[in-house]
């Protein structure tokens, strides 16, 4: 049988995978947005720094040299800044007028090749090389070309550049990403266990229902499936199943009542006749009358047997498929062995060899007394219509989802036109008469009814070589 993944495992895996995808997507979006926001902040700061330089340039009284002025006014400010800013002021011709010391020998180009955007008349770019702080990444630079009136003098076009290394920012963003992922991983592990237990918990009623349902048979049909009282889907399922059990119990009860009444009504008159007759026969009766009365008694015997078989048939009929549903586990191989052992002397007595063909260990759900009845009927039939020196063989084999209990005899077989009719009720079998223990004409009808009550059928095969094979074919239920 194909291995199926349990609902619990499936539910857990699907929900967990969804949680995993959600967590990863969220972490990435978070990371990218954080980085973008930080970058925007940096750009704003660079703009502010640029404005500061301009303010300083415009407002301060002239110094001996511009360079000295800038150095004093700005460098000190910039030094104390927690962020490592660089700046550079050049004139329109590209001559550097002033620059921060932390740039060392490097000169910021007016516009880098890796342009990242513009902001008004400012250009934003990233430097090609790692400047100012080796090992700390590229600089983000803002270059603004604009006329500035230095210390209130004539306006001259200057290029003012401010820059900042992005490395601390990138490092922070990376760290945040890693931390987010770590948190997500531990949250996912917790979610996994939570799901595993929650699904187990919510599926527990299913296990309880299964356990209980498999224990309910015709002998404890009063029992019901447990209701959790939560009103959820599983509760509804249990309620519907319980209603089905109610109906089943009701019909079984009505059937029992009917069969009990029928048995009483049919058997009480027979009991009276038989009893009275027995009493008469106990007394002194003329020999001729006695033999007549004994024939009457034989007829009553036959009537009683017929009555018993009819009642059995009615009982099996009314059980429809309930026998298989409500029965116990019946070990068929064990049953065959037991009945073969019991009937062997009978066969030997009639000069018939009773053999055992291949049998395999098979159990089915059903009523053992009924299955015994069906099998004994077939066996008895086969032994009766096999002539002396003949052979009867029993086999029990598995056939895709079914079990076939076959009884083969070397008797005269059954004529084609009779093959269906012999299963009809009260049909007289045109086979060798069965002697004093004449059949009631119900044996095979009972076998068929019992097979149907178990969801199966009876087959008859007459091989060309003679004899007949009766096969009781019953379904094997899948293992719960």
């Amino acid at each position: 049988m194909r291995k199926r993944i349990s609902i619990r495992r499936r539910l857990t895996l699907v929900s967990w995978s969804l949680a995993l995808v959600t967590a990863v997507v969220l972490a990435l979006v978070f990371h990218l947005r954080t980085r973008a926001n930080l970058l925007a902040e940096v750009e704003r700061t660079l703009g502010t720094k640029c404005d500061e330089v301009i303010t300083v340039l415009e407002s301060r009284a002239p110094h001996p040299t511009l360079e000295e002025f800038l150095w004093v006014e700005i460098e000190t400010n910039y030094r104390s800044s927690p962020y490592a800013y660089v700046y550079q002021v050049s004139d329109a011709e590209g001559r550097v007028l002033a620059r921060s010391a932390n740039l060392g020998d490097a000169v910021l180009p007016v516009a880098g090749p890796r342009l990242e955007g513009t902001d008004g008349n400012a250009v934003l770019y990233r430097t090609e090389r790692e400047l100012a702080w080796p090992g700390r990444g590229h600089l983000r630079v803002r270059s603004e070309r604009l006329p500035v009136a230095i210390a209130g003098g004539a306006a001259a076009t200057l290029v003012i550049q401010t820059g900042l290394t992005l490395e601390p920012l990138e490092a922070a963003a990376r760290k945040t990403l890693i931390e987010t992922l770590l948190w997500a991983a531990s949250a996912l592990a917790a979610v996994f266990f939570l799901l595993w237990f929650v699904t187990a918990r919510s599926l527990r009623p299913v296990a309880a229902i299964t356990r209980k349902a498999s224990r309910i048979t015709s002998t404890n049909l009063r029992e019901r499936l447990p209701l959790a009282g939560s009103g959820d889907e599983l509760d509804q399922l249990a309620r519907v199943l319980n209603e089905m059990l109610d109906r089943l119990e009701g019909s079984l009860h009505r059937m029992e009542e009917f069969s009990s009444d029928a048995a009483h009504q049919l058997r009480t008159p027979l009991t009276r006749i038989r009893g009275e007759l027995d009493l008469i026969l106990r007394g002194h009766v003329p020999e001729a009358t006695r033999s007549q009365l004994e024939r009457v008694e034989e007829e009553i015997e036959r009537m009683s047997r017929l009555c018993g078989r009819l009642l059995l048939l009615a009982r099996v009929d009314s059980q429809s498929e309930a026998a298989a549903l409500l029965g116990d586990r019946v070990d068929l191989e064990d049953m065959v062995s037991e009945l073969l052992e019991q009937t062997t002397p009978l066969a030997r007595d009639r000069g018939v060899r009773l053999g055992r063909g291949p049998t395999s260990a098979i159990s089915i759900q059903g009523s053992r007394p009924l299955l015994v009845e069906a099998f004994l009927n077939l066996l008895d039939n086969a032994i009766r219509c096999t002539p002396e020196g003949g052979e009867v063989e029993v086999s029990l084999e598995r056939q895709d989802g079914h079990v076939r209990l076959a009884v083969r005899d070397t008797g005269p077989g059954v004529p084609t036109e009779e093959r269906e009719r012999i299963f009809h009720r009260l049909h007289r079998i045109p086979r060798p008469p069965a002697g004093p223990d004449e059949g009631t004409g119900l044996g095979l009808a009972i076998v068929r009814a019992i097979a149907q009550a178990h969801g199966g059928r009876v087959e008859l095969e007459c091989p060309p070589g003679g004899g007949s094979i009766f096969g009781l074919v019953l379904p094997i239920p899948p293992r719960p």
């Binding site: 058997r267 009276r272 009493l279 052992e341 019991q342 002397p345 007595d349 007394p369 223990d437």
Partner: protein
């Protein structure tokens, strides 16, 4: 059998009338009760040796009567008469505390044989060695001997012999044998029993000894060391 008091509980007038006549002819002192409540009181207050109980009764069903008297601690052997012959009906009857279960219609001989078996069971010492004349069955050693000579028996023959020995001196019917030795109740089973009785006879009587297993025509078999 003298001095046996029997309570017959049966509501059908015609059935009870011939049953009573037959049982009185057998020598039992018979009290008749026609409904469950009456039967319950009689069973509790009179010292009966055996009760023959129909299941379908007015006022209290046979099952209820049986359960109630067993609950009150009354251990009198009870034989159920019932129109239902299903295995489950039989099991339900025996579970409720019955000692035997007989399906209607029955032969009077069958009923009396069963009643005698019930009465006998009470006096059965139940020892491990059963004897009849020079035949001995040792249940512990699982061995049968006749006049000291060992007899080889199959397990079924052994069980059959044990049943006959436990009821020696009383007639056992084929249905009783089928129910107790084979745990089976099937029409053609009486043939199987006849065959086994023949095997058993051939083994334990084997020419020399006297007859032990006697056929009682139309009823069943009787194991007895003395001629019946």
């Amino acid at each position: 059998m003298k001095g046996v008091r029997l309570l017959l509980v049966e509501d059908d007038g015609r059935v009870s009338s011939f049953l009573r006549r037959a049982l009185v002819e057998e020598g039992f002192a018979v009290d008749l009760s026609r409904d469950g409540r009456d039967a319950f009181h009689l069973a509790l207050h009179e010292p009966y040796d055996v009760i023959v109980l129909d299941l379908m009764l007015p006022l209290l069903s046979g099952f209820e009567v049986l359960r109630e008297i067993r609950r009150q601690g009354c251990g009198v052997p009870v034989l159920i008469l019932s129109a239902k012959d299903g295995v489950e009906d039989r099991v339900r009857g025996l579970d409720a505390g019955a000692d035997d279960y007989l399906v209607k219609p029955f032969r009077l001989a069958e009923l009396t044989a069963r009643i005698r078996a019930l009465l006998r069971r009470r006096s059965d010492p139940g020892g491990p060695v059963l004897r009849a004349g020079d035949l001995e069955l040792d249940l512990r050693a699982w061995r049968a001997t006749r006049g000291g000579r060992r007899i080889d028996l199959t397990p079924k023959e052994m069980a059959l012999l044990e049943f006959l020995l436990r009821h020696q001196g009383t007639v056992v019917t084929r249905t009783m044998i089928a129910e107790h030795v084979w745990d089976q109740n099937f029409d053609s089973f009486s043939n199987v029993i006849d065959v086994y009785i023949r095997y058993l006879r051939a083994k334990i009587e084997d020419g020399s000894g006297t007859r032990l297993i006697h056929t009682v025509r139309g009823v069943g078999y009787l194991l007895s060391a003395e001629a019946p």
